[in-house]
């Protein structure tokens, strides 16, 4: 008897039904699962770095010149760099910085972009026009050019960590995409009858926006966020590679590739593994985002 009632309760709970349906879709999507597994592994590596790294000190400026540029071996899984530091350990610690950068950049973009998108879409008119033209202005620059220019001005300053500058400048150019997504969502949701009804019974603008518009945007937003964390990791590494980002002896993937440039012709592992790490991280978040898109958007299914 008792079991019967619980089953009835569950099936009468539409929210649980919906969740169950999404869980089913997720479990069926193989690429998404692959992305999820790699992402979880990367997070695990970042958290457990001190226990995974075989030479933890090498990530923080230990130098061992007697082990310079050694090829991969059982002692140094991915070889050593020009200071004799274990590349594997440095990569493991670099995971922390890269994931942090990816998340921070997207977070900054969300904090700026989401409210602006809501305002532009909900109020329309002049406000909308001004916000969208500012977005167009930001988007009319070639990829990475703006962060490079702004970042270059902070180079040489001793009181600011360049990695912080790296994340800030990237976050500051990333938000227009979120303005566009949110605005488009608002325009769709605004037409719904229940919004009109809510307005008619005198619900406050802020309540409508928060409870209806944002709730409806979770799908497309989560797709974009997971894709963007990957792209942000790549952009952050690219900026570090150019010289706007991590400074020695920080273990950061993009900087490691850049530092290996004088040696890689003869010692391939100094470049190969850091680049592979970037590649893997970006692909993981991409699979995640693409999977989410298939789950939330019935058209692509």
């Amino acid at each position: 008897m008792k079991i019967d009632t619980t089953i009835n309760e569950i099936s009468e709970n539409p929210k649980w039904e919906k969740t169950k349906y999404y869980l089913y879709l997720i479990s069926k999507n193989r690429l998404f699962m692959l992305g999820l597994i790699i992402t979880l592994l990367l997070i695990a590596v970042a958290v457990l770095a001190p226990w995974i790294a075989t030479h933890p000190g090498d990530a923080f400026g230990d130098i061992n010149l007697s082990a310079r540029l050694k090829p991969p071996s059982s002692d140094y899984l991915m070889g050593t760099d020009n200071f004799g530091r274990d590349i594997f350990s440095r990569l493991v610690y670099g995971t922390r910085l890269s994931i942090l950068a990816g998340v921070c950049i997207v977070l900054i973009a969300l904090i700026i972009g989401v409210p602006l998108g809501l305002i532009a879409g909900y109020y329309g008119g002049k406000v909308d026009e001004i916000i969208m033209r500012i977005c167009d202005g930001f988007l009319s620059f070639p990829y990475l050019l703006l962060p490079i220019v702004i970042g270059a001005y902070f180079k040489g300053s001793l009181n600011i960590d360049m990695m912080v500058v790296n994340m800030l400048v990237l976050g500051l150019i990333w938000w227009p995409w979120y303005v566009r997504i949110l605005r488009a969502q608002v325009l769709i949701v605004r037409e719904h009858l229940y919004i009109e009804a809510a307005k008619a019974i005198g619900v406050k603008d802020s309540t409508i926006i928060i409870s209806h518009v944002i709730a409806n945007s979770i799908g497309p937003l989560s797709v974009q966020v997971s894709l963007d964390v990957g792209y942000a990791i790549l952009a952050s590494a690219s900026l570090s590679f150019i010289g706007i980002g991590a400074t020695p002896p920080t273990a950061e993937w993009g900087y490691m590739v850049s530092a290996s440039r004088p040696y890689f012709h003869d010692f391939w592992w100094t470049t190969f593994f850091p680049g592979l790490a970037i590649f893997l991280a970006v692909i993981a978040f991409n699979l995640l985002g693409d999977g989410l898109r298939e789950i939330f958007d019935p058209k692509t299914r």
């Binding site: 033209r133 167009d136 202005g137 009319s140 620059f141 070639p142 990829y143 990475l144 050019l145 490079i148 220019v149 702004i150 270059a152 001005y153 902070f154 180079k155 040489g156 300053s157 001793l158 009181n159 566009r180 990957g230 792209y231 790549l234 590494a237 690219s238 590679f241 150019i242 010289g243 706007i244 993009g254 590739v257 850049s258 440039r261 890689f264 012709h265 391939w268 470049t271 190969f272 850091p274 680049g275 970037i278 590649f279 893997l280 970006v282 692909i283 991409n286 699979l287 693409d290």
Partner: protein, 343 residues
């Protein structure tokens, strides 16, 4: 149409004005002091003050700002701190190399990616489509600076020896000097019939342009594929099927034309992507273009050069996008006022 062009030009001018203003005030608060950079690391007594006077840094900030804007309007970007040459001279010198590289790589990525996009759209959900998808994932995730370095390694060992640095073998400057006509080595060498130089510059452009093209491949494949799929679902295609027209004809005669129209807008976006990518690719392949110069400038805190190249890059992108929008309205008569339907 004329109204639209004017509106676009006003918009671009406004964006450039804001950019130059922001960079100007950034340089005023930046930790790096231009006068100190100008005189070098170990200035003698009074040298810094003299440099301040020379660069006009002793004047109040609003006067400096007005002077700066006036100079920019005359195409004077100041002097490079590193080379002491006028920035405008450097821009002219390195401009064509970047345009050549970016154009060649845009063409390469279109030639590779458009057929893949069309093909995978026709083979939707089949094995080829899945392979294309995996290829796309790899394309967007690969760091191009790393790809460039890996190709350089391969070029030495596995694949045939391709030059990995520069634009031309340095000995050719003496043995077969190239007459400058347009500044594009590939075109100039054909015009002057200088085949040795043509071969060499073609060989030199292969690796950097392929590296650069890789970054935009996935994007073009995705756009082409979704556009083709959309067209294949249109009513007129169904009608054509009902009339018993062969699938082959439907695909390559009816769907193809409409499906490829949106790909035109992709060209503008890809060009802008490649301009941005030139900073990474040119620095790796030592390609003597604006991208490499801006990288040098960043390493040396050479702000006048950074601003100059940024402005040139922005102008190139806006011009290309304007041309693309105009082309779009010519190709697709449904778009009466170009740009209105393009987000």
């Amino acid at each position: 149409m004329g109204y639209y062009i004017i509106k676009r030009i006003v918009f671009v001018t406004l964006v450039l004005f804001v950019l130059t203003t922001v960079t100007f005030f950034l340089s005023a608060v930046a930790p790096a002091d231009p006068a100190r950079l100008w005189v070098g690391p170990h200035p003698a007594a009074g040298q810094v003050e003299a440099a301040q006077k020379l660069l006009g840094l002793d004047k109040p900030i609003h006067i400096r700002y007005i002077h700066y804007l006036g100079r920019l309007l005359n195409g004077d970007f100041g002097d490079s701190i590193r080379t002491r040459q006028p920035v405008s001279k450097e821009l002219k010198r390195y401009f064509t190399a970047t345009i050549e590289l970016v154009t060649v790589s845009t063409v390469i990525s279109l030639i590779i990616a458009v057929p893949i996009g069309v093909y995978t759209a026709f083979r939707r959900e089949k094995l080829e489509d899945q392979l294309g998808r995996i290829f796309s994932f790899c394309g967007v995730a690969i760091p191009i600076f790393w790809l460039g370095m890996m190709l350089q390694l391969l070029s030495g060992s596995i694949i045939e020896d391709l030059p990995i640095q520069g634009r031309l073998s340095s000995t050719l400057f003496y043995t077969n000097p190239l007459e400058r006509v347009t500044g594009f080595f590939l075109i100039d060498s054909i015009l002057t019939g200088n085949w040795v130089v043509f071969r060499s510059s073609l060989a030199h452009i292969v690796l950097p342009s392929v590296t650069m093209a890789f970054a935009s491949l996935a994007y073009i494949v995705r756009q082409t594929r979704s556009s083709m799929i959309e067209v294949m679902n249109e009513n007129y295609i169904r009608t054509a099927r009902a009339f018993g027209i062969s699938e082959r004809q439907i695909r390559y005669k009816y769907a193809f034309k409409n499906g490829l129209i949106p790909v035109v807008t992709v060209v503008g976006i890809v060009y802008a992507m490649n301009i941005g990518g030139s900073i990474l690719v040119e620095s790796i392949f030592d390609w003597p273009g604006l991208g490499r110069q801006i990288w040098f400038a960043i390493l040396n805190n050479d702000f006048p050069v950074i601003i100059g190249i940024t402005i040139v890059f922005a102008v190139i992108c806006c011009t290309v996008n304007l041309i693309v929008d105009l082309l779009y309205s010519v190709i697709d008569p449904r778009v009466k006022t170009a740009g209105k339907n393009i987000e």
